[in-house]
């Protein structure tokens, strides 16, 4: 399968801070998850993929086109769905009006066909019944689903989702997984999340970014297997442990370099993530 996203040597700086440092990445159709600590460069990368930001250097190819060229960028945007991390949305709009407005910006000009499409995407995210309520009267989770709905307009080939499950309760997250499974067939989906369970459940591939560089690129299973033999339980925090916590059973789960004879435990994806990005407090936060 050929890559729909090709990134070579992409760098981006904000004043003196280097956010992306010569990043290389190829993404094929399917769901790819981005993991990384806060400030790792995930949002910057996703904004470049969503064509709202240009890199300082390097080359980007999206759906076989160059977003640096005006005509190509417009064509990419016609085939793109984007959920940004933070959305200041006009709360006087109803859910229907908001999605309809973005459908207009996505060049769905025929009124009846556009309204049918707006109803379809709101139905996909389970908001048909509240579509004529003002956004300010909807819960945070519902507003997030409205934003997800607009990204599904016109069945995009490339979906860029920056923490789409932030603010969703457990049931809504499960429904989001179901929604994404139904819409992602044949499409390229790149999503960032702090929920490692979302990565395990949704993604065929996971990319870990830290300090603007790719630290891991493989399947969730491969990421998890990097922690094999490095997770153990004991009655207390032990030497060699990078991070340790008391589990619900009252034992201490240690992640790091296991001592000889340690009682090894089945590693999870978050254990592997923690080992990969180190034990800084910032790094530990996303895997919570």
């Amino acid at each position: 399968m050929s890559a729909t996203i090709r990134i070579r040597g992409v760098s981006k700086r904000y004043r003196s801070t280097c956010v992306l440092d010569g990043l290389d990445l190829e993404v094929e159709p399917g769901v790819t998850g981005l993991l990384g600590p806060n400030g790792a460069g995930k949002t910057t990368l996703l904004r470049i993929l969503a064509t709202v930001m240009a890199p300082d250097s390097g080359t980007v190819d999206l759906l076989g086109r160059d977003p640096g060229k005006d005509a190509d960028r417009i064509e990419i945007r016609r085939r793109l769905g984007y959920v940004p991390q933070e959305t200041g949305i006009h709360e006087d709009f109803t859910a229907f009006e908001f999605v309809d407005y973005l459908a207009i910006l996505k060049e769905l000009t025929n009124r009846q066909a556009r309204h049918d499409e707006v109803r379809r995407v709101l139905d996909v995210v389970g908001l048909s019944d509240v579509r004529h309520k003002k956004l300010r009267r909807l819960s945070g989770g519902m507003r997030r689903r409205v934003v997800i709905a607009q990204a599904l307009l016109d069945r995009p080939e490339l979906l860029v989702l920056d923490e789409p499950t932030a603010g969703l309760d457990p049931e809504q997250r499960l429904r989001f997984r179901e929604t994404l499974s139904s819409v992602s067939a044949g499409a390229t989906v790149v999503l960032s999340t702090h929920q490692t369970t979302d990565i395990s459940a949704l993604c065929q591939r996971v990319v870990v970014i830290d300090a603007g560089e790719v630290r891991f690129d493989g399947t969730p299973g491969e990421l998890t297997s990097t922690a094999a033999g490095r997770v153990w339980v004991a009655d207390e925090r032990q030497p060699g442990s990078s991070i340790a916590w008391v589990t619900g059973e009252g034992r201490v789960r240690n992640v790091g370099t296991a001592p000889p004879g340690a009682e090894l435990a089945e590693p999870g994806i978050e254990d592997a993530y923690l080992l990969l990005v180190g034990s800084t407090s910032d790094a530990a936060e996303p895997a919570a």
Binding site: H90, Y101, L105, K106, R111, H132
Partner: protein, 278 residues
């Protein structure tokens, strides 16, 4: 009774074919509400395409009911539903904004009408200065992110942001000028003298629109507003005439600035929103 009796298959078929009289149709529908067995039987015999089409039609009918009065009026006036939706979130087109602008200008006009001595002109100078600034503030605000329902998402769409900017700026300009003209009607003296703010307003709005792509709306409005007040005050001082900045000689200058700004926007429309590139 409904627990044991069910709609006979032939009657259900006739109902589906619309071949029963009205009392029978009503009776069948009343029964269907309380009988899952008959509803399922009806669903099994129905054409799924017809059912889907019916739901789509119902959805359209419901959504049409929710069309706002403004949308209906605008639609009848020939404005496309696309432009109505684009204009709806524009901050300087909100009712409260326009009412506040009208009240402020009416207050300044009434002050000029009732307070100014015939040869004084201080309150008139105040009115003309404020009236010149109202379209500037409206236009720059319309071009700012505050008037965009979802700025980050909108940037990732193929729509021309210049078209959106032009529709919003043009409409708020017309609205602000209309409000200014209403307030001007309260002023004593001729209409020509009362609308001496118009050309300065157009010139300031043009320069403001060009600035909006480079600096924040607050900075653009702040600097241009201060510059305009200084120009009015200095001209009044130098000419010993409080309305010197609004006399015919100065109007020619504003016309020139407005023409240059309009030409710049026409030739380089990208200047309107450089901040939202790419």
């Amino acid at each position: 009774m409904t627990a044991t009796w069910h709609v006979p298959p032939n009657m259900l078929g006739n109902y589906l074919d619309d071949a029963v009289d009205q009392p029978t149709a009503s009776s069948v529908e009343a029964h269907l509400i309380g009988c899952a067995t008959c509803r399922n039987a009806l669903a099994d015999r129905s054409d799924p395409t017809v059912v889907t089409d019916s739901w789509i039609s119902i959805g359209r009918a419901i959504d049409d009911e929710f069309e706002s009065r403004v949308e209906r009026v605008a639609s009848r006036a020939g404005v496309s539903d696309r432009d109505v939706r684009t204009l709806a979130p524009t901050l300087s087109l909100q009712g409260a904004w326009m009412a506040a602008t009208l009240l402020a200008l009416l207050a300044a006009a009434l002050l000029a009408r009732h307070v100014d001595a015939p040869s004084d002109g201080l309150a008139r100078m105040l009115f003309l200065t404020v009236a010149s600034l109202a379209p500037l503030i409206a236009v720059v605000t319309a071009l700012s992110a505050a008037s965009e329902p979802a700025p980050e998402i909108a940037r990732a769409t193929p729509a021309s942001r210049l078209r959106t900017a032009a529709v919003r700026a043009g409409t708020v300009m017309v609205a602000a000028i209309a409000i200014g003209l209403i307030a001007s009607a309260v002023l004593p003296g001729g209409l020509i003298e009362g609308v001496a703010w118009l050309l300065p307003a157009v010139a300031l709005s043009g320069v403001g629109a060009l600035s909006a792509g480079r600096v924040s709306p607050t900075t653009a409005i702040g600097w241009l507003g201060c510059a305009w007040v200084v120009i009015v005050a200095v001209a009044a001082q130098l000419a010993d005439d409080r309305l010197a900045a609004f006399r015919p000689g100065a109007q020619g200058l504003y016309l020139a600035v407005a023409v240059v700004a309009a030409a710049a926007i026409a030739l380089r429309p990208d200047l309107l929103n450089l901040r939202s590139q790419p």
